[in-house]
Symmetry: C2
Subunit: 424 residues, 2 copies
């Protein structure tokens, strides 16, 4: 086990404590069952005394909670340890083409507060070509609402992650481009206004992919063999590539831009400037357009949000010409998605595909043509079964993934969080 | 540093010796300068006595050689240690569509013997639709020629790697399919006949990619930041994806099948059964066909091998209509290659592309349209420079990579090799 390079005995001791604190936190969060202090000692190889002191710190910081001891045992009953509920939260924020939202998740994985504008059934929203200053100010207001709500309940915000549908430089806090919003070259965080904990930005498809890992798994340090691609279908289409339990980010964090994979160079022009990108053939707007529904809210007489798939689902369920037409349109989208996924599988040799976003809802209608393309185009298809299934988490997965990313950072390095408490 | 799980003190001691032997070998092979025993002790953190004993074992096994001590130093002069020359070799074998070949590489990285049939300028060969029994028997004969030659010079074969242009199950020694050979579902190794050291099989594009890493780097254990894609152009097109110094293999070792990435679904049918695969638009045969040259040797009156790019290069260098036509044909191949590489870069966020095989020779004529596609289609192209350049090793790179893979295994686990010596 490698430790960060250290210089003085004092620094070494501090670093060792940080390291052991993380070990203890990971073993509590990664266990499917509540663990006793003795079980944590066994799992980590640390002495009972060390574990006792570290667990006490995590309990004092409200990261870990103690359940009532199991009765009826011989000797002093063991106190079961679990991730704390409703004490510390991670905040996920998102701007997408047809909604903005905020979700607060506690350390047990429960959603404790949420605000979404432009959700299906709620007020319509269309942020394509929008003004980032206004949209981000509004999102900041929603976030402050959520913060006020959780703080009123005695909870504390550990950090915030903002999901954006585009290329993001996370370190510099800079958005290069979000084609479907029409946003380019801006630093979004200051536009949110003041929030109680640090805000980092990330690509929405990557965060949506993280949300597909089992919740307890964020405590692990990867290398557990979990390998899949998660495709988020919305107006834009993004993918998260998870290899052996770790999100694959690429050189700059820009991996997974499956929406701009070429499916048919003779196809329509994309907002990115190229032609025949997947997004233009299988994105939500492409499906709505195929059904004669205007994709843009502003142009629709009834003012329904483009996020609303209801007319598509109704047509798919119905018979007659409208039903057939809807099935043909969704089938064509499935074929285009299958072409792009064949390319991805030929390049990366993955065998699990999660369909997320609107694709989770449409999975059964996309599947026949999608799987036919995989069978035809994946060179290895006669020798492996590629599993295509709806994503475990499909509703607002980037909000979920963003909040989880905050909590994962906390569990992987709890001493950073405990230090901020000491400074309060 | 993790050690394999061990049970008894004796097993633990053996395992520790194996581990330290590998540490010492890697430090000698990974150093750009010859190292003394004292420098190896410093680099590995082992005692001088331990290093002395381990180096003696590597010298006795002819893995490491001692140079003459540098004169004029105070005290006992240090003996410089280097990878041994002309003592132990790795053997690379390859079947491709227009050649079969064998190369023996010694531990210093030098080619010490080679046989290639169907090389440019040599006797023509066309193995599409060939009989694997005959082709592999012939390759076995070539390999035995090379073995006889190196053994006559007092060298010893450490192992053999057979490169095949298709999907390979390395563990089972089984070839699923090699579309351009027309081979399917066979175990190729027994068909080679007897060879002195174990034979493993691998995908040729993967081995060609390994050959692009600097020779000394095979001593390292990855994580050195070296990230690139190497595209091998031949009749088929394969890619090797190297991430942070390690070849990315995927779930079954089938990653990198860029030849079957969709470039234009309306394009010609591919041998894999799909349409519009890159191979059909930018493979060597596609270029030859575009110039009115028959790709298949059998059908050509002059009997020249399809491997021979001479007519293409002559036309490219010339003026008039033939020159213009050749430039247009190669330009179209460059555009198709650029489309497929844009897809790869959008998915993987890489910024270095090596052009190998015939693409190394054609690089300057492919480049304008290839780079134009990257600029149009890579979403991140305004914010990053994607470097496209001829591969450092382009001639028979899979032979080179296969031989190197054998030597890398030896350096990473020298005790296995030394034990086989003891058993002789």
């Amino acid at each position: 086990m490698e430790l960060p390079g250290v210089a003085t005995p004092k620094a070494r001791q501090a670093s060792l404590r940080e390291h052991n604190l993380a070990l203890v936190a990971r073993s509590v969060f990664g266990s499917p069952e509540p663990l006793s202090r003795a079980a944590v000692a066994l799992a980590t190889g640390l002495t009972r005394a060390t574990v006792g002191s570290l667990v006490d710190q995590l309990v004092a910081g409200r990261v870990v909670a103690e359940l009532a001891p199991a009765p009826g045992q011989v000797g002093r009953p063991a106190v079961p340890l679990v991730p704390a509920s409703r004490t510390v939260v991670g905040l996920g924020l998102e701007v997408n083409v047809d909604y903005v939202g905020v979700r607060a998740l506690d350390l047990s994985g429960a959603t404790v507060a949420e605000r979404i504008e432009g959700a299906p059934g709620a007020a319509p929203a269309d942020f394509s070509g929008s003004d980032p200053v206004r949209v981000l100010a509004r999102l900041g207001d929603l976030a402050r609402d959520v913060v006020a709500e959780v703080e009123a309940d005695g909870m504390q915000v550990a950090g915030t992650r903002l999901a954006l549908p585009g290329l993001v430089d996370a370190r510099a806090g800079f958005l290069q481009v979000a084609p479907n919003l029409g946003w380019e070259s801006l630093a979004p965080v200051p536009l949110l206004g003041l929030l109680p904990a640090s805000v980092e930005i990330a690509n929405e498809a990557n965060l949506a992919g993280l949300a597909q890992l089992p919740f307890g798994q964020f405590a692990s340090s990867g290398h557990d063999g979990t390998t899949f691609v998660h495709v988020s279908g919305d107006v834009g289409i993004g993918a998260a590539i998870v290899l052996d339990g770790e999100l694959y980010l690429g050189r700059h964090g820009w991996a997974g831009e499956i929406g701009h994979v070429v499916v048919d160079p003779a196809g329509p022009r994309c907002r990115c400037g190229a032609t025949g990108c997947l997004e233009q053939l299988a994105g939500k707007d492409a499906i709505l357009r195929g059904l004669g529904l205007e994709a843009s809210v502003a142009a629709r007489p009834d003012g329904a949000a483009s996020g609303d798939l209801t007319p598509v689902l109704e047509a798919l369920a119905g018979g007659g010409e409208p039903g057939e037409r809807a099935r043909a349109v969704v089938g064509r989208a499935g074929k285009a998605l299958g072409t792009a996924l064949s390319t991805l599988v030929n390049l990366l040799d993955l065998d699990t595909v999660f369909l997320g976003g609107v694709y989770a809802t449409l999975a059964e209608d996309l599947r026949p043509q999608l799987e036919a393309e995989l069978r035809t185009r994946v060179l290895a298809s006669p020798w492996e079964r590629i599993v295509v299934r709806p994503a475990p988490v499909s509703g607002y997965a980037a909000l979920m993934g963003g909040a989880r990313a905050v909590l994962r950072d906390l569990v992987q390095a709890p001493s950073d969080f405990l230090e901020t408490l000491e400074r309060l």
